[in-house]
Subunit: 273 residues, 2 copies
Amino acid sequence: MTFQEKLDKIIKKNKSLVCVGLDSDVTRLRQDFGEAKQLSFNKTIIEATADLVCSYKLNTAFYESIGHEGIKALKDTCDYLVQKYPEIPIIIDAKRADIGNTNKGYVQFIFTYLGADAVTIHPYLGEEAIRPFLDCKDKGIIILCRTSNPGAGEFQDLEFRIQNSELKTKNINKLYQYVAYQVANRWNKNKNCMLVIGATYPDELKEVRKIVGDMTLLVPGIGAQGGDLEATLKAGLNSKKQGLMINSSRGIIFAENPREEAMKLRNDINKFL
Amino acid sequence: MTFQEKLDKIIKKNKSLVCVGLDSDVTRLRQDFGEAKQLSFNKTIIEATADLVCSYKLNTAFYESIGHEGIKALKDTCDYLVQKYPEIPIIIDAKRADIGNTNKGYVQFIFTYLGADAVTIHPYLGEEAIRPFLDCKDKGIIILCRTSNPGAGEFQDLEFRIQNSELKTKNINKLYQYVAYQVANRWNKNKNCMLVIGATYPDELKEVRKIVGDMTLLVPGIGAQGGDLEATLKAGLNSKKQGLMINSSRGIIFAENPREEAMKLRNDINKFL
């Protein structure tokens, strides 16, 4: 089963486009979660939300911060998900990318050691470099395109000289648009590519949707970062009123009632479908 | 002491611009290194080369590939270096970059947990995103600019519309040149920025040298990847006949006699100084 097939199934079952981010920052976890704090905390969130999500996203930064024990907690969380909720896709928000064969180490880490279903990737080195990721046919390879941070435009909005008539016709002249175009038209031979577009930029999300057709987009930035849900859905849903994973992390996992928050987000999204 | 000061000292002491890459791919290590294979292997390389290098570079991909035990081996190697060779800078070739505060986890991993001196970073998210790295005044923040892989040009060579007269005067119109320009002129408030430029692209190295003045550049691609040493030095040395760390990894660590290879590279470089 491919990542997309797995995703489609759980979206249907849970009626949800919500991707919960298990950004389990150790400095924010209560002491009573004990020794294996991150794993214990993650389990409580997973148990509270497993019927309300289309995926879980784990950002490696929050685990690496404490070194090898954090990596073990990350793995234990993935193992727990694989065993108890094998139908829910796991996205590792690793934002990796090295050259050529070096990426095999990351592929091994994310898909073999962690047993995850998808990974996020930097585009800067080009398709040739990240081929070892793209060759994983059944996995989701999610490329950073227009990120949610305030300064995202420094390079991503650069306007370049248009060199062919197709780009001219499609009005593709900014770097993030060209990344979207290349991914959709060149990188996606295995139909396993997706993109990250921040909810904080609905106009850019709309542009990207025009370029990539029905491709699934991972959209962080709702909640703590201030992205607007209605604008995001209007701009980003594909022709089937799908094609989005709406990520919320801190807004759900550190809420007083994570289940309630996840349900609210799911229901708020579903009103627009 | 800043990274640059530490680097300058060891370059002088060891008369070397050689950065040895401890890319200790477990699939290539002999069985007789035993349980803690990567650490044991790294120790033999370090002992054979410590008086011949200006830095060691550890690429996280080769350690993450086996999960938390690899991360432990990475830490143990860094601890060994810090204790036994505190004068040699440690570069973690992590190619990280996330948005804003999330980077604090990576900063914690690389500078606190591992105790390293420098890190490599993707530029795509812009300066504002990677501020937590740039704020580490005494550490080296080494930003990917023109990478050594054959397909590096897909985005890095994009020509953009020049919007100000300074860029026009300096003939800066490709993405990698603009990255170099931004890093040198905007990101480098703490004088802790450097760039990665592949030895496989001496023309681009020359362009970057013009843009960034005497800034230190990390140059991979000599050896196994086929970069030409003479062309690299001619294009890349700064006004003081310094400003380069010439990296070789597989070409040294998997050679029959790593010490001899490291010495040869050091001496070959020094002929041109």
